[in-house]
Symmetry: C2
Amino acid sequence: MTKTLAFVLYPGITPLDLVGPLQVLSALAQIDPSFEVVVVGKGLTPLSTDTPLKLTPSHTFGQVAESFALIVPGGTEPTLAALADEPLLEWIRQVARTAEVVGSVCTGSLILGAAGLLYGRRATTHWGFRDLLAKFGATPVAERWVQDGPVLTAAGVSAGIDMALHLVERLAGEQTARMVQLLIEYDPQPPLGGIDWRSADLDFFKPHARTMVESALAGHPALLARMTT
Amino acid sequence: MTKTLAFVLYPGITPLDLVGPLQVLSALAQIDPSFEVVVVGKGLTPLSTDTPLKLTPSHTFGQVAESFALIVPGGTEPTLAALADEPLLEWIRQVARTAEVVGSVCTGSLILGAAGLLYGRRATTHWGFRDLLAKFGATPVAERWVQDGPVLTAAGVSAGIDMALHLVERLAGEQTARMVQLLIEYDPQPPLGGIDWRSADLDFFKPHARTMVESALAGHPALLARMTT
């Protein structure tokens, strides 16, 4: 039986959160047809992102009732607004009930949290929002990706590529993971090297994150209070 | 005056080719409003990709007559078919005439080649198509990204992220490049390490590449002959 790998799409996401792991898992599906990839949204109209590009899903929530794996991408303020998007959360809860992998990239893990799927789990997210995971009963972890039971969360944006390659290795073995890595030529050479976390100024982001939460959830005082106290 | 950074969109691309550098340069535009990012296509309808996701440009060819930078993403067979897409090539030639940066990711460099922009230039592309660069008068180079005059070409798929960070450093300095890298949390940790090029079997791809070229250009015998002899 075909194993479905479903990405969720909602308005305003950071497209690299989705497209990094989508490209990796689409390569897996190309190599091994026992996997198929879908991108699922409320409807089939193009959705804005935090770039000028618009993205259109391949399936609607109504068309995908269950999935082997589920991956939720993140973003900035629109993702925080999605924490109050009950139809989105309800579809995620429904699919997560039987999914073997419940995944996220970046602040997508906050949506998993809002759906009630992170209680007692170790999880990660973008460094600028990591503290918020605790609001949903999760234990925030500063790792590139974190596996806890079925829950697989990645750090910010580009971390979804690493997480997806890890998932390919787990689902299809090391040889296939190496083939996927070769096909997408993932041999990273950041011009300035990796991030030097000790010298990076992370505190500057705190007021921005706070402002985004307050703006995104202004119409949802109970959730806003939960996120800010 | 605002500097426009234009990505070209055409049917069937590998979306990570576009979205990697798009996310990087959109972060630059967010930090420094003297830059703006656009995604340009023939029309404004959603276009298929080599994944289930569809992508929609923000502008049409007619709306963007010139640009500070131009970046062409690649793909597999549909990109090879685009080597014969004269309206696409003509728009690229027109914008390249005054652009300070003429860039590509993956097999997007073959499109630059077909547009006549690589004569006498050092350039790169996806490892599986590198030999084809010589058909357009370019010198193929096995590097993550290659700068030669205004021409900036990246290796396959994920290499566009590294190339775009290099471009940010060049346009806006090291501090801004580090900030962009931090915002997209680009601290890569490939689970199996980088690609071990010495042990990788690359020859298996040759017949696939050949088949793709033959299939994509079946209706264009002169170009097909140029690409295969």
